[in-house]
């Protein structure tokens, strides 16, 4: 459904990534792995349209989306940035309702129907009890869930996240990933940058390895992402351990210090 073709991107004239090619199908969970500063966020921002690509194209169902207006893009892709907050004390229900912005006519406000969709999104994530709370006063985990609810209210086919489990405790990370898995089972495509290779092993239907300005595409990371790839990616010594739990093959990345 999403196709990135011969894409070069970066800030200004400077290429950070070159000749990036990959495709994503509906319901895929794509994990973008790479060291700090390798260009994961640049890739994400280029797909969303926040940075104009230097070369290449991004296609959805065969059509280039590069010149789409923000409204049309927002109906296709929602974005959850690395960190987010609000200067002003909006309530959670209003933050989620903002997910409906791309469906509003010029100079109109959300309708009852929009409010219903926003409430449904909150219910789906089981955070309806937060709806009257002030967003900026929530914990990091709760705020992250509210942003996912906003993305669900946006009813986009693709959700792009920059390090969604950053700053979350262990339990909340699991909750977050479980919700993302649920979304992908409903046919929503998830593209996320992450620092943990385990995310790719556990949930990823595809992994993108970003290093030295190049992007490598790996199908089914649970089978095809090898110890050697990760050593090269992060330039550290590590070991992949595999074990069997409830008939599931689990892989984990162990650092060797």
């Amino acid at each position: 459904m999403l196709e990135v073709k011969a894409l070069s991107c970066g800030y200004g004239e400077e290429n950070i990534l070159e000749d990036v090619n990959f495709t994503v199908d509906s319901g895929d969970i794509v994990c973008i792995l790479g060291s700090n500063g390798s260009g994961k966020s640049t890739l994400i921002k280029t797909i969303i349209g926040l940075i104009k690509p230097i070369k290449g194209d991004i296609l959805v169902e065969g059509k280039s989306i590069l010149n789409w207006p923000w409204k049309r893009r927002a109906q296709l892709i929602s974005y959850i940035p690395q960190s987010f907050n609000s200067t002003f004390q909006y309530r959670v229900k209003d933050i989620v309702l903002m997910g409906r912005t791309s469906y509003l006519k010029f100079a109109s406000t959300p309708s009852k129907e929009d409010e219903r969709i926003a409430e449904e999104a909150l219910e789906l994530l089981r955070i309806s009890h937060l709806k009257d709370k002030i967003y900026s006063q929530l914990s990091g985990g709760e705020r992250q869930l509210v942003k996912i609810a906003q993305a669900l209210a946006q009813q986009s086919k693709i959700i792009i996240m920059d390090e969604p489990t950053n700053n979350l405790d262990f339990g909340n990370q699991m909750v977050m990933l479980k919700h993302l898995k649920n979304c992908s089972e409903k046919g929503i495509t998830i593209i996320m940058a992450t620092h943990l290779p385990e995310h790719a092993f556990l949930y990823g239907s595809k992994a993108l390895l970003v290093k030295n300005g190049r992007v490598a595409e790996i199908e089914k990371p649970s089978e095809n992402l090898k110890e050697r790839d990760l050593r090269e990616l992060y330039d550290v010594d590590l070991e992949l351990v595999e074990f069997n739990l409830d008939n599931r093959n689990i892989k984990m990345c162990l650092p060797l210090i």
Partner: protein
Amino acid sequence: MTSSLRTFNFLEPLSEGKNNEKEWTMDILNRKGRQYRAIYPFIIILIGIFLFSFAVGRYPIDIITLLKVLGSKAFPIEKTWSDTVEVVVFQVRLPRIMGAMLVGSALSLSGAVYQGMFKNPLVSPDILGVSAGAAFGAALAIFLSFNTAGIQLMAFCFGILAVALVYFISQRIKADPLISLVIIGILIGSIFNSFVSLIKYMADTEDKLPAITFWLMGSLSGIMPKDIKNISIPILLGMAPLFLLRWDLNVLSLDEDEAKSLGLDTGRIRFIVIICSTLMTAAAVSVSGIIGWIGLVIPHLGRLLVGPDYRLLIPTTILLGSSYLLLIDNIARALTTVEIPLGILTSLIGAPFFIFLLLNRGRS
């Protein structure tokens, strides 16, 4: 997985206990959400201050006579009052009251939308140099011995010119658009301020320097009925689009990247906001001179009372801003025999009030 979900739900009672009191007080005003019921008290306050303002001043008019005089324009009421009363009400006090309301609401609303646009609650309507430009225009006009209409026109045009310069220069800078706007705003503002100082330095110390200084301190004492007509058009022209865009203004106050990814054409909305605010502020300043603090304090007060949602905040700031400047202008008229310039009063009252708001906010 159920166990991990429970881990999260475990947080529920904790977070529910937090901030209970504050939410309760805010909910009283906000209970029915977007319903405009929350602003009814502000309408009543404004009407009260509006009527009271007619009674303030050297020529006493009691409330019954006042209601009759006002009503006589719409209903056939037998005339039991002197012509003087009618002149005082319609020619002297009404324009002044309308002027205070228009200027107060224009400055407050500009402040409220700029604060959202810059994602910073400490921004005031003159951040893009509109006041500095208007001050230069007025000072130049006074220096060149223009009449009142000329001074107003020059103030209005230079206010708009200053912001136009800021906007178009900042568009050419390859940096974050908001930071470029702020920096160029400060620079252009300081250039115009230097020119004002230069004109003051060169001005005749007998009549022109006092006139310039007085203009810069802000006052509504010279306002005429025709001024109301002149400024109400640009002010209403600025207010209407901002009210229509009230939802987009909410989204605009989020992070730039978030707003865009939610589908908002931030560049276009920003352009409209700047045009509308500049139109309102330039019109207001052209008749009143420089009146500070309203654009900073009133939006704060509004947010404290109804929350940051522009669907409620816009009508609230308009009502509170009108009431506030009307009240201040009454004090300016009534407190001493010689009128106190408004700019002095708004900062004398505004700054301590702002400190009070900040202290109270910290406590809750």
